[in-house]
Structure formats: structure tokens, C-alpha cells
């Protein structure tokens, strides 16, 4: 069995997710993940670049949604407002799979290695966001600054969303955090 069972990639993701949650990321070996999925270690590395990447399969879709939302936003919007629109869309996507996102975040919170990977995914997101802003005609220092600040707001809102009892929705938290940022920087 095993060979030619459908959806090898999905089985690997599911097995990794379960094992990381049960006994932690560092305490899980790739061989164990492959075993539970009915595959071999070698095959795991054909589907995922490394042991961490299996948790970040959805990052691409998120980035594409963010970029396309910013790109297609009304040309009359300011850079920060176009960015906000993109972040709201991304937040809504995450909100859809809320339970999965929360479990995933619990796994990541327990491992420094996984946090590193999460941070570079966010940095890649910021770079793509800056690109999208440049294509709207935003000049370069401003584009990078807006993108980095936007991701910072997103990070804080996401943290609040995860910590909260689950009543607040991510898009509202993003909007709220942005308002607080406006208040913060308004002084002087």
C-alpha cells in the first residue's frame, strides 16, 4: 500500500500537523511523518523543501490575494489605504480557516525555528506588497515604508486575534490597530 494512494502531499501535511501538535516540532522526525503518511522520508523532501515548509503551504495563496487586492484597488486610494484593503482581504481569508490558523499558530509559538520561518514569510509578504505599491506609482522609500508598516500592523492585529477569546474578527482588529497607529504618529 502507500504507493499510488492519492493525495500524498495532503497526507504528509496532515501527518506533520498532527505530530507537531502532539509532541512538538523538534521532537518529531521526518521519518515519523512519512511513516504516518504511508510514505518514505525521501518522498517527504520531494514535496516540501524542508521540515518546516510543510506548515507554510498556504503562504502563496495569501500573498497572491494581498498583491492582487492592492493592485486592483481604486487608483484614488492613498498608499496606506490600498495597503489596508489588501491586509483586510488577507485577514478575511485567514478568518475563514480560523480554527486551523489558531492551531497552526500554537505549533509555531512553541518552536523558535518555526518562528524564524514565519518571520521570513512575512518579510517576503512585505516585499511583494512594496512591489505592488510601486506598480501603483508609489516612489521607493515610501513604498517600502508603507509595506513594512502595514505588515507590522498586521502582526499586531494577528497577535491580538490569536490571544483574544475568539470574538473579534481579524479584519476589524486590523482596522482598529491601524487607527491606533494613526493616533500614535499624529502627535507633534
Amino acid at each position: 500500500m502507500g504507493r499510488w494512494e492519492p493525495n500524498a502531499r495532503g497526507r504528509l501535511m496532515q501527518a506533520a500537523f498532527a505530530l507537531y501538535a502532539e509532541r512538538g516540532f523538534e521532537q518529531t522526525t521526518v521519518a515519523e511523518i512519512a511513516d504516518r503518511a504511508g510514505l518514505t522520508e525521501r518522498t517527504f523532501f520531494r514535496h516540501f523543501a524542508d521540515k518546516r515548509e510543510v506548515l507554510f503551504a498556504g503562504a502563496n495563496a495569501l500573498q497572491e490575494l494581498l498583491v492582487s487586492t492592492v493592485t486592483n484597488a481604486s487608483a484614488s486610494l492613498t498608499p496606506i489605504d490600498a495597503t489596508t484593503a489588501g491586509l483586510q482581504a488577507a485577514g478575511a481569508l485567514i478568518q475563514e480557516g480560523a480554527q486551523l490558523a489558531q492551531q497552526r499558530q500554537a505549533i509555531i509559538a512553541a518552536s523558535v525555528e518555526l518562528q524564524e520561518r514565519e518571520l521570513i514569510k512575512l518579510a517576503t509578504l512585505a516585499a511583494a506588497l512594496a512591489d505592488a505599491l510601486r506598480q501603483r506609482g508609489v516612489e521607493d522609500p515610501i513604498a517600502r515604508l508603507t509595506a513594512e508598516t502595514g505588515i507590522a500592523v498586521f502582526k499586531v492585529a494577528f497577535e491580538r486575534w490569536v490571544d483574544a477569546p475568539g470574538e473579534l474578527e481579524l479584519p476589524s482588529l486590523i482596522r482598529e490597530s491601524l487607527g491606533e497607529l494613526r493616533a500614535l504618529t499624529a502627535g507633534q
Copy 2:
């Protein structure tokens, strides 16, 4: 030779720095670093937690300077202004060792693994900064938001500093980037 030569840690840092610059981070083995320093691989791992950490030895001093500056800043300063004072101090410290910092950044820019480590160091910096702000009495969502935004500004300013021909000084770039952020968020 080798054993009991003074400054083993410094020799390891120097050897690693040189080899990473010459042939790149991934193409350098820890055994090669230890060899060049006249030591063994085992000893390398007694001085540094892993192969990447050898490049981030100065991070502690930077964090302490940032935190103490924010903590000791006049109580009348707003959160964002206290943060700015801390970032300016950190920027000045980096500016002192400008050449080293530039070389280091070139090495990091060539390796995704090293970028991951750099990002988590910045995240740790943000967390420490948020702590310092809380001790000034800043409430929690605001403290985190100010810290993350401050680090975002710092990242952009640092990038500009590295890309620039070297005429502009980091503290001025930080101030300038913060001004641009104020303009960005002022709309509406």
C-alpha cells in the same frame, strides 16, 4: 599550538566572517572555520549555539542600548518619541562600526538562512522594546504596536543606509523615515 592561544572566541568569529565572505555561508563548513582558527569543530559549538549565531554576537549590546535608552528617556516623551530616541542611539552605535556592519550585511544578504536569523533578532528587539515601553506605563496593544512600527522604520532606514553610497548617517535616516511615516498616516 592552538590550545590555549588567547581569544578563541574572537578567532572563531574572525575566521567565520572571512570564510562566509569569501565563499558564502552555505559553502562553508564549521570544520573549516575551526581549522582556520586553530581549533576543533566541537569547540566552535561551545562558543556559539550554531553556525549562524557567530555573526550575531553584537545583538545583545544593541538590545541593551536600545532598552536602556527608552527606559531612561524623559517621562514626558510620547511612546513614539521615546522609541525614536532608542532607535537613534542604536543607529549611532551601528554607525560607529559602519564598515563592519556593511560587510556583515553583504554576507547576510547572500543567504536566506542568515536572513531568517536576522529577522528573529529584530523580532526579539521589538519584544524588548515593547517591554521597555510597558514599563513607562504604555498600555499593551499600544506598546506592541509602537515597538513593531519602530522596528519597521528602523529596517527601512537601515536598508537605505546600506544601499546609499555612504554619505548619509543612520540616525538621520531613521529620523527622516519616521517623518515619512507621519506623512503617510496623516491622511484622512
